[in-house]
Structures are given as C-alpha cells and as structure tokens.
Symmetry: C2
Subunit: 345 residues, 2 copies
C-alpha cells in the first residue's frame, strides 16, 4: 500500500502556503496570489475572505518560490574586507540605502582579505541568484566571475580595481591623495619622510606608495630604503616599523601613514616619544581632530564610494549602462596640526 508521502524534514515548520489559505477561504489558488500581490480583479468581498484566512493562518509568502518563478531576487550582494573596520561600515550602509531605494535587500560577507574566501563568498551569493554584486576585491584575479557577469549579474568593484576582467570600478584617488599628503609634509620643510603602509599586493596600498614616491621625486628627494615599510596592519608589525624609522641614525621627521588601521598604531608610537614627529594619515578617524596635535588626514568618502557603486549597479540592472567605466573619487586633505609640525632635529 502506498505510504502517505512524508514531507521532507521539518519543512519551515510546516508553514501555511497559498494552497492552505485558498482552502480555508474557499477560493482558488490564483485568487490568493492575486490578493497577496495586490493584483486587480478581485471583489472586495473575496479579498476580505482571503485576507482573513491569511491573518488567521499567519501566512507569509515564500519568496524562494517567488524568486524561482520570477527570476529576480531583489537582493544584491556585497563582499568586503571586514565589516568591523570603521571604513567599511559606512560604505556598507550607503550601499544598503541605495538598495533599499530600489526595493532590494543587501547580503554581505567579509572576505578577511583572503582571495579564496572572497571567491567562495561571491560565488555563494551568485548561487543565491543575487541580482548584482558589489565587490571590494581581496584577490587580483576575478575571471571566476566571468560566467556570472555573462549570465547577467550586475557587478561593480569598489575601492580596488577588478583583476583580469572588464568591469565597473569605483575608486578613490589613492595616488593623488597620497601624493598631495606627502607634498604637504614637504611643503612644511620635511625631507626625511617615512611611509608605513599595507601589503603591497593590495591595490590601494600600492597606489598610495606610488603617490608617496612621486611626491618625493617631485621634490628631488631620494627615498632611503629604511623609510618605507609595508606589511600587515598588525599593531606589533606597525609599531616595530615606526620605531625603527624613528630611531635610525638619521631618523625621519615625518610619517605618512597608509590607512586607518596603521594610523591608530602610529599615533600611539608617536605619542610615546618626546620629539614631535609630523604625521599625515590616509583615511579620516573619528576623534582625529581632538588629539593633540590634531591629526592631518587625507580623507576619502567611504559613503560616497558605496553610494556611487550601488547606483551604478542598479543602472546596470536597468540596462542603461553598457560600457564598463572606471570612476575615481577625489580625496580631501584636512589639515589639523600634525601635518604642519616643522621638522624637529
């Protein structure tokens, strides 16, 4: 004898479906669908009955099924480095707001600066069939996204460019910002200027270093090997790097810090020293103006990066965009004191 087909394991706790609602209201399946979606062509009386059944059963439409049928998920994915980093919070929020304005939800994931994890995340998002993807690259090869892009997943890269693939990018002017920041120090009389930055494989780090070198070259200053230190943003690493260049026989009189994680450690090191060392830092910090001296920064607008990227993404989805573009947002030098200290030696 035929068993009653048992439902698969704990199926949403046996949630009511449109079928259940239809049965209870004594109407057809499609009529329920019409009510739920506010489609026209339902008598007020019928609508009332259906609505009653919905409320009584606690019915909620299953968007998975809907997505399957309609082909659009009304959700976009964001792959970033670390949500806990104060730089990415506002960026993520900005993306979310644009998504919300377009009726979409945001799924995000942190790559922790690991290319494999970035790929794993991005592909998982694609498997969920997000309509679009905003990626802050950890890796430098994004060919794995080619089938997705071809299949119509809108894609925008932010903060760092895409690797090996032609796609929209929204970047800050890392090179120009760093160059300007270093030039600022030079203008205040410094010649021995240190640079402490992130790992050189990260595009922003490389660009900022290039800005530093260019500014130095512009001023005819030869950069000593000991003035440049690249690596992780781990506090110990940064601390060692800073102390080294400050304790050398010919110590640097100013430091350019490559990002916000580096900066907080550099500030700590400088605060411990008697001799005043000038500092210009890439990325603004919340209380930077209240330190003594205030921290001069090259600020980038994280929210604007996110917003611009998301807007571009939705324009891709509308189909009004065709040619991938590279957009560069300006940075802003904010002088607060630390960058205007004269060389002390």
């Amino acid at each position: 004898m035929p068993e009653t087909p048992r439902r698969p394991d704990s199926r949403y706790g046996n949630r009511p479906t449109m079928k259940d609602v239809a049965a209870r209201a004594g109407v057809g399946l499609k009529t329920v669908s019409r009510v739920v979606n506010g489609e026209p062509g339902v008598t007020p009386e019928t609508e009332r009955r259906v609505q009653e059944a919905i409320d009584a059963l606690g019915f909620r439409r299953n968007d998975s099924a809907r997505v399957l049928r309609k082909g659009r998920t009304a959700s976009i994915g964001l792959v970033l480095e670390d949500l806990a980093d104060p730089f990415y919070g506002p960026l993520s929020r900005a993306v979310e707001e644009v998504a919300r304005a377009h009726g979409a939800l945001l799924i995000n994931g942190s790559s922790a600066e690991d290319p494999d994890r970035e790929q794993e995340l991005a592909l998982a998002l694609c498997a969920r069939r997000v309509d679009g993807l905003v990626v802050i690259p950890a890796g430098d090869d994004h060919r794995y996204l080619e089938p997705e892009v071809k299949a119509g997943v809108a894609t925008v890269f932010v903060d760092r460019p895409a690797g090996q693939i032609d796609a929209d990018c929204v970047l800050s002017d890392n090179f120009g910002g760093a160059r300007g920041g270093v030039a600022h120090l030079i203008a205040h009389g410094h010649r021995r200027i240190g640079f402490i930055g992130d790992m050189p494989r990260i595009h922003t780090a490389a660009e900022r270093l290039r800005g530093y070198r260019t500014a130095m070259e512009d001023a005819g200053i030869e950069v000593a090997d000991t003035w440049v230190s690249l690596g992780t943003t781990d506090p110990d690493r940064v601390r060692r790097a800073a102390e080294e260049m400050l304790s050398a026989p010919e110590p640097v009189t100013a430091v350019f810090s490559g990002n916000n994680r580096v900066t907080v450690t550099v500030i700590r090191v400088l605060a411990e020293r008697a001799r005043r060392v000038a500092l210009v830092a890439f990325d603004d910090l919340e209380l930077a103006d209240l330190l003594e001296p205030g921290v001069t920064v090259v600020a980038q607008d994280a929210a604007a990066l996110g917003r611009t990227a998301a807007e571009r993404l939705f324009r891709q989805l509308e189909g009004t965009l065709v040619v991938p573009e590279r957009i560069e947002l300006p940075t802003r030098l904010i002088a607060r004191g630390s960058g205007e200290l004269p060389p002390a030696d």
Copy 2:
C-alpha cells in the same frame, strides 16, 4: 496555433540548468545533481564528463530552487540600527563569523531606529525564509514575529530586550555598568554629575539612566532636573545639553555620557572649555586612550554580544534549546584619566 511558450522576462539571463548540463554530458538529471552535491554513486568517468559540461556551460546551482525543495536557506538575518555605527560593525562581524562556521550567510539591514522599518525588514527576511533572525530592536512590540517564531524561525534579540514576546535576549549590563561608572565619579569627589543620554524609549538608554539615578541615590545625592538630558544623539542637541549643564549657576563638575554617539560630541564641548570637567562614557572609542586626558569608559563587548546571540540562535536551530533565556553580559570600567579628575570649583 500554439505559440512557443516564451520564458518569463530575462530569466537570469537564461542561465544553464542541470538539465542543460545533463543533456550536454549525456546523462540523467539526477546524476548531475549527484555530482554537484558530491553524493556517492557516480563513476569517476561519468563524474568527469559531468564536470566538463559544468565548466563548459558555466553552470552554477540555483539555490532558490534548492531552498524551495529542502526547506532550509542556510542564511540568517540581522536587523540592526545602523551598520555605520562603530558599535554595530563588530557586532555584525561577530554574527557573520558564527554564521560562517555553520555554513550560513548573513543578510543584514539597518532599521535606522525606526520601529516600522524594523518590522518591514524583519518580515522581508522571513519572507526569504531565513533560518533565523537576530534582531536589535528599534520598537518595543514584537508580536508581529509570533507567527514566524511559531513557524520555526529561530529568533534572538540583542542589545535590547524583545517587547511583548517571549524570546532569547542577549544584553549588556547597562544598569550595572552605568551605576558603576557614576559611582566611580562619586568616589572621586563629584556630587554634581550630569547625565546625557539617548531617547528614553530606547531600553539601553533607560537602563543606563536608572543606573545613574541609583548610584546617585546610593550616595545620598539628590539629582537636580537640569542635570539630566535625554534626546536624540544629534550633535547639536547634545552640544546644547552639555553647555547648559556646564553653564548653570551651580554647574556640574562631571558628566556621564550615555553612549558613543553622545560621547564624541561631549568630548568636543569639554575640550573647548578651560575648566576641566570629569567624564565617564558608556561605550569604548577607538582613540579614547590617546586623548588628553584619556577617556574613562564603561566598555561593553560588542563582538561578544553578537557572538553569544548567534551561537544561541544556532543552538535553537539544532533543537537543543527550548526555554527562552535572558543573558546579561558584564561591562568593564576602564579608567584612563577623564573619570579621575577631581571636581574643579
């Protein structure tokens, strides 16, 4: 004559399906499914052929369909106040890490402290059939979640308790923390102590105020009306409040600040004044130790809040939890100088 049934509008850009892969590899549908899911029972040779077809077509499993069939989405939702707030970034990241350890993705949304938006978001997440929901409440009535909870959506509230509904909560010891912080000021000789906090309808704000009042009462100090100011965290509002209590005929000699948004403004106001005013702030800040004086804070562990909540959520999903519980995490007083200033008058 029967039209060829046209596919619904731009269906994922006509992505290949398992059927396509099966056709190309010359095998059955289910065999492809087996390969994709690493199920046993496929000859290496067959598997190779299928894998080739998958690569050639750029096939990626459609998780929407999978979810529909299996009933679990392997994703959880997080509704918080504002992702751009440095308090919520780490919390969100901690939730994400736990989710990742359980193979789940995180969808999050910002309620912007608006109860309606919180509800809209939470229900949208439920419609996507997230397996669980971590909510930082904006509103104080969560009965709208009852059908969802009943239907098996694991639910945990963080930072603030649930309203009108019996559910797991993970909170900081707001009352005890504030009470301790204010007692700290009293122990350093202060009697006229101001409290600037968030809107009283927010649970954390109310609890911290209660802690303040209790500490004052413990010390036998009567609180003057002008010492307490509650409202939005808008800088102008906070600034006015601070200036008022500092300029009164009998000005406060110390301020207790109710959260990190308030604190940054209070610090600015205090920095502008000649007279030194003591400060203890709820929530730690990134550079708090480098200010002059260092900011004494009552720190809560945002990551621990998120981690604890997420872990509890997955234990609900495993079915090992039954009774909703209220977990309270301790806070930590970190003395850095500003809280140890003597009353100056």
